[in-house]
Symmetry: C2
């Protein structure tokens, strides 16, 4: 059968990651959450369903995902890192009022002339301000 779990499973293996229950759960959580969750949020939401889950496992898993390019960390100010599935490149907008992070459609930001001798592995574009909901 071709359940969601089975598909996540396949995707992880394809990246060279053994698909444990915890890992698949965290992967699917990232997939369904639009909140760019922090480790604490992931843990808080998953712990009720998986009582044995440990914070360290969430950290392990997230770090593994980042290393394998499945997820990317989003750093806002000095706070806890937040994570996003590494979908095709897109920019982020961080609302300083509600703390939400919005995905923006990828804009093809040309690598500038001044970087011609650099090897650019990653580009991050980050906006900060106030989102429409918080403006009034």
């Amino acid at each position: 059968m071709d359940t969601l779990a089975a598909r996540s499973d396949a995707l992880l293996r394809q990246k060279g990651i053994k698909a444990s229950f915890q890992r698949v759960s965290i992967f699917e959580y990232l997939h369904r959450s639009k909140e760019h969750p922090s480790v604490s949020q992931i843990f808080a939401d998953l712990h009720p369903c998986i009582p044995s889950l440990s914070r360290a496992t969430v950290y392990n898993t997230i770090n593994l995902f980042v290393e394998k390019k499945i997820a990317i960390p989003v750093h806002v100010d000095g706070a806890e890192a937040r994570y996003d599935l590494a979908e095709p490149h897109h920019a982020h907008f961080h609302c300083e009022v509600c703390q939400r992070i919005f995905d923006l459609p990828s804009e093809d930001l040309a690598v500038p002339e001044s970087l011609k001798d650099f090897l650019v592995r990653e580009t991050q574009v980050h906006y900060r301000g106030v989102c429409p909901d918080c403006r009034r």
Copy 2:
């Protein structure tokens, strides 16, 4: 007389900041360092000259500078924050080998259409990869 110290002094006061010896020292350190230093680096380099200096004061001062828009934090991965004087907007390149951060001349990154209902207060463009010195 118009020493460097006197000028820094004036600049800080103009931003509404009382110009203590520590604050002027940290401001000048930021000014002369091209390293985008972290609090630890600032402390380590200034402590020998100012033995009474405390880490907490460096944190206080840096936070004050950020609040007053004199400095901006640069977050690289999960590591310690690093700081830059808030010169006219420019992008950053972070070398993942030597950990240096390079300033790139400001490129006028147009705010994308998708943000028309957002209030954009700040834009950060961040590249990561390998710098020319580390490429061979």
